[in-house]
Symmetry: C2
Subunit: 209 residues, 2 copies
């Protein structure tokens, strides 16, 4: 019952985050494009893919495993597929920001956001590979799986929280790059940050329950 | 054994964080003062007190309760006292930045960092009050305490992680206010951020073990 309420609230958060991010990037910013003379359109793919791809899908992967009614085998498959989607969108999102830096002659990897974010993606990839090999194909022996499971959960939560920290520092950076102060767009960006934090807390709650 | 190793490593992290923060604020910045014509000296009290006071002491309070060999009664007292020190330094640190804004005519509370940070301090105060009343003076009945304990731990971890997120967004803000790019000070600030993140992860690990 508590898990069900937490899950419903978490999905309401996802809808709010998705709406606010799209409203921000389309209404206040330039929209998105993979190739465009309007360079910020390339940048805008970055927050779009990292938030609505990487963070939302990895959160969903964690919730599903705890709260979705299905066989263990099916749950593992869904858990893996959602994480693979998260990783693919995450890599594409990182590629977009590197491309934007290149076409705009902005240096790479000098901020805390970039350090935490790229470490997070690398650890995410390792954790996913290790998880698939240990728990799915070929899958370790039952005793080994049982031994590794709590560490898989702990590192999974840590990497997910690193993604949340990366999002919050990324939004803070963008706030200052755009020289936002106290206008409407500033409120929209800050509320996206608050909602992502709440999403992280509720995914954590679902895992802890 | 694992808890002992985690605790030793966490304390090495505390020493590194303290050294780097002092090195940053004294060597690259103006040092600290509560009253000074050099206004940034007032600001500098803010990162000093929030990191070496609020975050370090609340982390220590959590670790102590798990890893320090003492009676339950004594552990609760130490846990409370360390949290009270954390709250006092936290409030003083927030006061310092409000004072700096006032003397410099900078608006208050318009960034994501300020929203997350102030929410964190308020929730911290509520959690501490609730914890003291439930577990110490006067203390609820045994069954009620047992019922509340897991929620006390969950919200404690959430509020601590909010403090970590506030620190990371705060360092990101300062990075841009100071217009740091790729120099030595930028590396020092970013490494403080990475070490605080690691500190958060290791405190979480100690609680989870």
């Amino acid at each position: 019952m508590a898990a069900l309420s937490a899950t419903i609230f978490t999905h309401l958060l996802v809808i709010s985050i998705a709406s606010l991010v799209l409203y921000w990037l389309i209404n206040f910013r330039e929209g998105f494009a993979f190739t465009s003379k309007v360079k910020p359109k390339i940048f805008n793919l970055h927050p779009l893919l990292m938030i609505l791809g990487f963070i939302v899908f990895s959160g969903e992967a964690m919730i599903t495993y705890k709260a979705f009614p299905a066989t263990r085998k099916l749950l593992k498959l869904i858990h893996m597929i959602l994480h693979l989607i998260a990783l693919a969108t995450g890599i594409f999102g990182v590629y977009a920001v590197f491309k934007f830096h290149n076409v705009s002659s902005i240096p790479h990897m000098y901020t805390l956001h970039s350090w935490i974010g790229l470490s997070c993606i690398c650890l995410f990839g390792l954790q996913l590979l290790f998880g698939i090999v240990t728990f799915l194909f070929p899958g370790a022996e039952s005793a080994t799986r049982a031994k590794f499971a709590p560490w898989h959960i702990f590192f999974g939560v840590v990497i997910f929280l690193m993604a949340i920290v990366a999002a919050e520092t990324g939004l803070t950076e963008k706030f200052f790059f755009l020289k936002l102060k106290q206008g409407q767009e500033a409120l929209v960006v800050n509320f996206i940050g608050l909602l992502i934090l709440l999403f992280g807390i509720f995914v954590g709650l679902t895992v802890a329950l």
